[in-house]
Structure formats: C-alpha cells, structure tokens
C-alpha cells in the first residue's frame, strides 16, 4: 500500500497536523489566489453514502486549486447497482483521476481500497470508523478559537458510532488536551478507541452528564445522537433531550466556550445558540474548504 493515503487520524503526527493547518491558513486568507496551483488535476469522488458538506467542500477545494472532479454519482446510478465490487469500482476511477476521495458505509473500506489503488486516497468517512479530513478541519477550528494546547475539551453525543469523534480523539492525543467524553452508557466510546487512547497515554475521562464538566470546558464538541441506533423510540426520546444544549444549559459555561458540531444537527443545539459567540459550527463547516485545499495540495504535490 502507498504511504501517502490518509486513512485514519492515527497516522497524523503533531508535525503533520501543523503543516496542514498552516498551509490551510494561507489558503483561507485568500482562497481565490491559487487557481493555477493544480491545473489539470482531477479528483475522483466516490461517495457511497449521502454527503453534502464533505463532498461539496472537496469539489470546491479542487476547483479553487485549478483542478476539477469526476463523480461516480449515486450508488443507484453507478455500476455498484449491477453488483460491481468496491475494489473494482475504485480501481477503475483511480485510472481516471489523480487522487480519490472515498466515503463508504463499511468500516475499513478505505483501508481496503488503499490496497488496490495507485493514486493517493483520502478517507472521507468509513461507517462508524474514521473521518480524518473532518478531524483536520475540526483541529483548524479549535486552533483558531481556543488553541490546541492547554485546553479542556468535552465531546458529547453518540461516541459509539460517531466517526468524527473517533478521529478527533486520536488526533488530540498529539496535543496537551484533556478529553472528556459525555454520552449515555449505551453510546460510550468503543473498546478499540479506548484501547488506543490508553496506549497513547491520553488524559481521558468519561461522563454521563454534561453539567459534571461543562464549567471547565474550553471547547464543547456536540454530535448527533442517531435515532436510528435505538431499538426503542421512547429510549431515544428520553436520552436525546438530555444531550441537547440551549442557552439555559450553557449558563454555567465559560464566556469564551467554543461550541462545535460536525453537522448536520437535528435538535442537539437549539437555534437560539446560533447567534451567540459560543456558536462555531458554521465557521467549522466553512473551514472544510481551506483545510481540504491544503490536504489536496500536499498530496498532489507529493505525487508529481
């Protein structure tokens, strides 16, 4: 397998992260100034699951760099519908493109595809596994708002299936960050993530109630509790309300708390929070473009 695929956030050292974020800051300052950077570069988009932000931000990023994208379209309109394997689909599209972006519902899909393709591959989400490019834009947002060292971060919601959470937790082990995980018992971090955090010697604590830790937080990263995971609708309703935030919930928080969310949200963050200084989730989503520009620039440059 090539060593320039980005499959998990575990691959990223502190230096790797800082290099991408510094470059992203250059693109962020003037995104339209790099239109001749990768003329003729083609990015292959393989999205086997619905996606709005991730897909459109990759498309925007490659266009801002002067390149273009080819898109396999929906699963229903592709050869996958005819029974073609993921390995074959990816190999074919890799023949058209200079780099690939993959989102797939199965965990480990990106690792497998990485064994079959000859162009750099970016994992844009593999089931409940990893989402490393989301993590880089999360880190960029955290750095801009709170810094990446000497921070206390709370990560709340569906920690079991939340791939953005898994990747972020791994990446934060590179920094001096106290990590607090807040979730119902049934949606705690999976064993494999806890194993890695323990191996990394990360400073980690788990909670079931936000108010146990909220006043100490510099960053609160909220994720959607996924209704579809609950066998019993009543059980979901009981939990979902407890893991949402509004202005009243945030009263004990620090004034400069940064509230993040990978989006889409449903009812985890009340709209009344949007107009406060806490709200950073739309800025976070916008950061997807400069961060993905930086990643693509790095990968395409290295592959020349």
């Amino acid at each position: 397998m090539r060593d320039d695929h980005l499959l998990t956030a575990k691959q990223l050292s502190r230096e790797d992260v800082e290099e991408v974020l510094d470059r992203a800051a250059e693109f962020d300052a003037d995104p339209s100034a790099f239109g001749d950077r990768h003329e003729d570069a083609i990015l292959g988009l393989c999205f086997f699951e619905p996606s709005t932000r991730t897909k459109m931000s990759f498309e925007t990023a490659i266009k801002r760099l002067g390149g273009d994208s080819v898109d396999m379209g929906t699963v229903e309109s592709s050869s996958v519908k005819k029974g073609e394997s993921l390995a074959d689909t990816a190999r074919v599209i890799a023949g058209y493109a200079d780099a690939l972006v993959l989102r797939h519902p199965s965990q480990g899909a990106a690792k497998m595809v990485g064994e079959f393709v000859d162009v750099p591959l970016l994992n844009a989400g593999d089931g409940a596994g990893h989402h490393p490019t989301q993590t880089l834009l999360d880190l960029y947002t955290i750095r801009e708002n709170a810094g990446l060292d000497d921070i206390t971060i709370g990560i709340m919601g569906d920690l079991k299936y939340g791939r953005t959470v898994h990747s972020l937790a791994h990446a934060l082990t590179n920094f001096d960050a106290d990590q607090h995980f807040i979730s119902p018992e049934s949606l705690k971090l999976p064993r494999s993530v806890r194993y890695d955090l323990h191996e990394e010697g990360a400073n980690v604590r788990e909670h079931t109630e936000l108010d146990e830790i909220l006043p100490a937080l510099d960053v609160l990263y909220v994720t959607r509790i996924q209704r579809e995971r609950f066998p019993d609708e009543n059980e979901y309703q009981e939990i979902a309300g407890e893991y949402g935030i509004d202005l009243e919930t945030l009263e004990p928080a620090k004034e400069d708390l940064t509230v993040m969310h990978p989006l889409p949200r449903v009812d985890e963050i009340a709209p009344e929070v949007d107009d406060t200084d806490y709200a950073t989730y739309f800025e976070q989503a916008h950061n997807g473009v400069p961060v993905r520009m930086a990643l693509l620039d790095q990968m395409l440059e290295a592959d020349r």
Binding site: Q107, G108, A109, E115, Y195
Partner: protein
C-alpha cells in the same frame, strides 16, 4: 510412556496436539477444519489429568501435519499446546507455539459492518494483542471466545 498417553493408542503418522487447555479440543478441531466429513481418523482426549496443567485435552490426527497458519491460530486459543509430528510411530518433530504478530485469512470479523464481511476480494487480517486480537480493517477488538470467530471452510 506415561499412563496419560496410553489412554489413546499411538498413531503411525500425523500430528498429536498435546497440552491443549482443557475444554478447547473441539475448537482445535474447528481450526483444523475437521468436522468428521474429511475422512481423517481423529482421537480426542478431554480433561485428561496432567501434572503440568491439572487437566488438559489431547487431539491426535492421523495422516495430517499442520500448516504454519493453523499453528499460528492454534496459539491464540491453546497457547500452551505442544505439537508432535509423528512418522512411523515416532515423534520426529516437537513444536512449541509462539504467538504470531498477526493472523491472516483465518478469523472472521464479528463486526457485520466490517468491509471484510462484504463481498470484496479481501482476506481478514488480525493483529494479535496481549489479550486478544484486533481486526486490521475495522479495528474491532475481540477478547472473548476467539475460537468462535475461526472462519471454518
């Protein structure tokens, strides 16, 4: 020869797997893909008294020597086992098991959403941890009852 070994008669050629943790003999057969339909003659001793282990299981398989892959996986569920290769009724080779760093193509991943359980051209790969195994694709950690995940053909 000890009384314990005399419980089952000597075999002319094949493999004797001795010092299997008591209760694991049937899982050892599962690893070897032996279900009685392949024609091999198999003798099993279960809960045999053992000076070293208290009780142990023994499996004797006539006419078959184990591959390295089989030995590797065997080490996950029967780490104390010794493997005796028999030719002409004599032990010609005695192997002690060493835990491998990884096992390939032998265990199936219990995570139904793992790509190795989709219809893709990929073999399972598991990293061997101190107290279990970990899927190299979806990262699921299996600690309990590893034998239940042996992918028997």
């Amino acid at each position: 020869m000890s009384d314990h070994q005399l419980r089952v008669s000597k075999i002319p050629r094949g493999t004797v797997i001795d010092h299997i943790r008591a209760g694991q003999a049937l899982n050892v057969l599962a690893i070897l893909g032996i279900d009685g339909l392949g024609g091999e003659t198999v003798s099993i001793g279960m809960n045999v008294p053992s000076d070293r282990m208290g009780h142990k299981d023994i499996v004797k398989v006539e006419g078959r020597e184990l591959s390295q892959d089989e030995v590797d996986v065997l080490s996950l569920i029967a780490p104390e086992a010794t493997i005796n290769i028999i030719r002409e009724y004599e032990v010609v080779e005695k192997q002690y098991l060493e835990r491998p760093e990884r096992v390939v193509g032998v265990l199936s991943c219990p995570n139904h959403n793992c790509i190795t359980n989709a219809d893709e051209p990929v073999e399972t790969k598991f990293e061997v941890l101190d107290d279990g195994v970990r899927c190299e694709y979806c990262e699921t950690i299996v600690r309990e009852d590893i034998a239940a995940h042996i992918a028997v053909e």
